[in-house]
Symmetry: C2
Subunit: 278 residues, 2 copies
């Protein structure tokens, strides 16, 4: 078996999806990646479903143009509204979102069957997490809380600042104060893992905090081998990432490093215009 050397495409509204790319690269060391952040139009979390669908279609066309063999929607908002559409539009290319893996992680972690999901306004409004969790655990009690300010706090790199603590207090303290509180919190936005410390300080150590990065990497690994698309050990350029952004490569590199957990060379980021893929 020669393996399939084509890269995996990863798409997000901006830099938050780099938390997913990080988990993918760790889990799949033989693969190479193309990451696209639609930074000129972020955030998606406050935008309507139709707008996000149109943007996701353009992003997918660019990634297919780059020869990707599989698409990972590393953005909760886009996963919530566009995964089905993209699967239909671009079959047989496998398209994997982060909602179903995130729901799976939450269901695996809960003992009292009460799960809280924090996400952007758009993800909460669409209700995709609640549906995905109830599909896996029909009697689960799901509480959804939009945490829009967390996006800006994460992009500012304020992982555990007083402002982040105060925002976490505002959004989460009441929800986790009762004895019947959820025992599991799903971070339903790829920006939020960098704020996990401040979130944990507010909700206490007994609540399981899960995100979709690890489980998405697992789902991608399964899909790759299931479809015979995996790359072989020792594949050329294994572990490399080509970055594309729709706005300032300098800012993408600077803020992206917060989410990727390592430095990004601005010269390695290519500026693209997605309107040409409309």
């Amino acid at each position: 078996m020669p393996g399939d050397p084509r890269p995996i495409g990863v798409f997000d509204s901006g830099m938050g999806g780099l938390t997913v790319l990080r988990a993918l690269a760790a889990r799949l060391p033989n693969e190479r990646f193309v990451y696209l952040g639609d930074t000129a139009r972020l955030p998606y979390g406050t935008k309507s479903a139709d707008t996000v669908k149109a943007y996701a279609l353009q992003a997918t066309r660019l990634l297919l143009d780059q020869g990707v063999k599989m698409l990972v929607i590393a953005c909760n908002t886009a996963s919530a509204v566009a995964v089905d559409l993209l699967q239909q539009a671009f079959a047989p290319v496998p398209v994997i979102g982060v909602i179903e893996p995130g729901a799976r992680a939450g269901v695996a972690a809960t003992a009292n069957r009460r799960i809280a999901v924090i996400a952007t306004e758009g993800t909460v409004r669409g209700g995709a997490y609640a549906r995905a969790i109830r599909t896996l655990m029909s009697d689960a009690e799901v509480v959804q809380q939009p945490c829009q300010v967390f996006v800006a706090l994460a992009e500012e790199g304020w992982a555990d600042s007083p402002a982040t603590r105060a925002a976490a207090e505002h959004y989460l303290a009441t929800l986790f104060a009762s004895p019947a509180a959820p025992d599991t919190l799903v971070l339903g936005c790829t920006h939020f893992p960098v704020l996990a410390g401040a979130i944990r300080a507010v909700i206490g150590g007994r609540v399981a905090v899960v995100d979709s990065a690890e489980t998405t990497a697992g789902a991608v690994a399964e899909a790759l081998s299931g479809a015979g698309l995996a790359s072989n050990a020792g594949a050329r350029d294994a572990g490399t990432v080509r970055f594309f952004a729709t706005d300032s490569p300098e800012r993408f590199a600077r803020v992206g490093a917060i989410f990727l957990g390592r430095a990004i060379d601005p010269a390695s980021v290519t500026l693209v215009d997605l309107h040409t893929f409309a």
Copy 2:
């Protein structure tokens, strides 16, 4: 003199510019307005100059299509990079930004000739406020501080929450602690006036806090009468506003009310696609 009954066009990346519209409507009761918020692509404050220029051109074309007689760029980021371009591209239509009026307000308020400007990353990076202030007061000492998280806090309506206080503390406490601190703070983003209470709590009562809304309204009044474009008393539809947004009218109405200071009927907001004006 019959007066010129055509509306004044007001453009912002989103809802923050409604603080300027509010001042315009109060100052110019005979005029009617068309307000466009490019909510599908906000915020502009983290985007590059070229991207913001392209967006501003599209927005202006839409407003001219609506028959406006004058254009007010009620967005600091777009004013900083696009006013000259729009003036040249659309002459003889008068184009007025918020930077020069904001600088004028700061210069009028300072006694010690030390002025602080808080704004988005994009506005600070471009340095337009510092240039505009030094044009008016060549020996002014200008300190610029990006306050990106303030945008999200204002849109969440957290006018004086603990998180807003903590963010204000982070951005501003050191700057205003010294005896040689600025005596004037210019709110260089149209979102920030709603956070003035929390900002004042951190910087103290002796600092003058000014924004560009009032002075922009004054500049527009002058330009109208100077160019013979003012509407007459008793003009038809005086005081009315037509709203356009590039994303969810519902969210525009809900969040916009925070900035406009009065309710907005979602049914009065028209959804538009600016790509058709590219």
